[in-house]
C-alpha cells in the first residue's frame, strides 16, 4: 500500500465524486464489499464481534512493526463495503495516525443520513472499535514496561 492515511481519504472522496446518483454509489460500495476478503473463521467469535451493529461484524487487530493491521468483515454486503473503505483508510497505519484522523471521507460517500450516522449499520461502533484498538496498542507501546 503506497497511499498515506490522508491520501486514502482523499482518493476515496475523489472516487465517489464521480457518481451522480445513490444507485451508482451503492453499487460501488457493494462491489467493494464483494471484493473484500472475509475475516478468517478463527476470528468469527464473540470476542471479536463488534457490538452495536445490526448485522454481524467481526473486527480483529494485530500490532506489528509499529503499525495496526485490521481485519474485519460482515454478513451484510453494504456493511462489508464500508468495512473495505474503513480498512483502506485505517489499516496498516501507526496508532498515532489512526487516533488523529477522523473519518471525514464518510460524508463524501453520499449515504443517507441514517447510514452516515451509523446507528443502523454500526459504522459508528466499528470506528470506535478501530480507535479503541489503536489506543490500546498506543498505550502498550508507550508504557515504560513495554519491551
Amino acid at each position: 500500500m503506497t497511499e498515506t492515511i490522508d491520501e486514502a481519504q482523499k482518493n476515496i472522496v475523489a472516487d465517489f465524486a464521480g457518481f451522480t446518483d445513490w444507485e451508482d454509489r451503492y453499487a460501488h460500495i457493494i462491489r467493494l464489499g464483494k471484493q473484500h476478503p472475509d475475516i478468517p473463521d478463527e476470528f468469527k467469535i464473540e470476542t471479536f464481534r463488534v457490538k452495536g451493529c445490526q448485522s454481524t461484524v467481526h473486527l480483529h487487530a494485530r500490532f506489528e512493526d509499529g503499525r495496526v493491521h485490521y481485519r474485519a468483515s460482515s454478513d451484510a454486503m453494504i456493511v462489508q463495503g464500508l468495512i473495505a473503505l474503513l480498512l483502506r483508510v485505517y489499516s496498516g497505519r501507526t496508532a498515532e495516525e489512526i487516533l488523529r484522523t477522523p473519518p471525514d471521507f464518510i460524508h463524501a460517500l453520499g449515504l443517507t443520513e441514517n447510514l452516515t450516522m451509523g446507528r443502523q449499520n454500526g459504522l459508528k461502533a466499528m470506528i470506535e472499535q478501530i480507535k479503541l484498538y489503536a489506543m490500546a496498542f498506543h498505550a502498550m507501546s508507550h508504557s515504560p514496561s513495554a519491551n
Binding site: 457493494i30 445490526q54 454478513d75 453494504i78 449499520n121
Partner: protein
Amino acid sequence: MSPTSHAATSPALDVQRVREDFPVLHQQVNGQPLAYLDNAATSQKPRVVIEALRTFYEHDNANVHRGVHMLSQRATDAYEAAREKVRAFIGAASADEIVFVRGATEGINLVAQSWGRANVRAGDEVVITHMEHHANIVPWQLLCEAVGARLRVVPIDDRGELVLDALGDLLNDRTRLVAFPHTSNALGTVNPSAEIIRRVRAFNPTIRILVDGCQAVQHTAVDVAALDCDFFVFSGHKVFGPTGIGVLWGREELLAAMPPWQGGGDMIDRVTFEKSTWADLPNKFEAGTPHIAGAIGLGVAIDYVHDLGLDRIAAREHELLEAATARLQAIEGLRLIGTAREKVAVLSFVVDGIHPHDIGTILDMRGVAVRVGHHCAQPVMQHFGIPATVRASLAFYNTTEEIDRLADGVAKAISMFR
C-alpha cells in the same frame, strides 16, 4: 356498544380519504414518497389523536385525582373517561379492571412481579410459547429465576403456528400460568386464543392465563370476557394512540388480591411510617402521576378505530395481505417466514444469499420503510435458522401502490446484490 357494531356490509374504507387523517404519511423520504410499512413496530397517529394531546396541554392540563380546582377536575374526568373507553373497547366488566401502564411491556412485568411473586413458588411452572416477543419472555424468566420456577415453551411448526397438541404435554399440576400472544409480531400468526384458553381451563381452571394483545387490538375486535383469559395487555402506540401509554386488564378479584408493584403517590389510602394502606383499584397499580395526556389520546384513538370499524379495517388489511403475499411470493429466491393459515398483514421474509439488512437499506433509499432484524423475537429466528428477516407490516392506510413499491424494491435489491 360493541366495537364491531358496523354491519359487515358497511361500505369499504375510502383509503385516500383515510390517509388524509395521518399527517405523517404525506412526506418524502430520500426523494420518494414515504411508504410506511412498519406498523407492527408502531402505528401512525391520526390528526384527532395529535389534536387531543395538544388540546389537553393547551386547555386542561392539571394533575389528576389531586385537586379541587376546575382544571384538575377536567383532567381527572377526561382521564377516567379514557379508562371507560378502554373498558368498552376490550369488553371488560368494570373500569376498575383497567390499569394504565407505559405499554404492554410494563403490563407484563407488573403481572410477573406482583401476581407472580405472590403466587409462583419454587418448582412451579410458567408456560409461554416459542413465538413470544421478548416482552413476554424476559419478565417470566426473571420471575422464574427469582423464585426457582421453571419456564416451559409451546413449540411452533414451520408455518409459524403453535403446535397445540404439545400444550397438553406441557401442562401439569405445577403449572401456574400460561402466557401467549394473541397474534405474533414477527410472523403475523393469529393464534386460536379461545381454543388455547379452553384447553387450559379444561385441564385446570385455576391456571392463570395472560394474553399479549399487542398485535391484536388494532386488527380485530377483542372481548376479554368472551376470551375468558385472566390478564390482557396492549400498547397504545400500536393502535394509533400515543407512545408511553398502555393497558393491563385483569380480573377484578385477581387484581384486588395482588400486592402493589410500585409505591408512591396516588396509590395509597393512608401513609404512616409504620404502615401504608393501599388505594382501591385501579389506583393501587398507578403509583405516581400517570401519562394523563397519553391516556386521553388513547381514548381518542379507540374512538377513531371504532368509527372506522374494526370489521372494515380487517377486511381492508386482508386484501392488502393477499396482494402483498402474491407479489412477494412471485419473487424468485424469496421465502416468506410465517405462512400460518390465520394471519394479520405482517410479511416477514428472507431472500437467498442476501442479508435482510442490505434489502432494508435499498428499500429505505426508495422511501419504503420496513423493519429489519429479529423483531425482538430471537427464538422465532432460531426456529427458522435465520439471523433476521425483512418485515413489512401493513395498516389499513397502506395502498397497493406501496405494496408494488415494496416488491419492486426487493427485486431491485436482488439485482444489485447478485
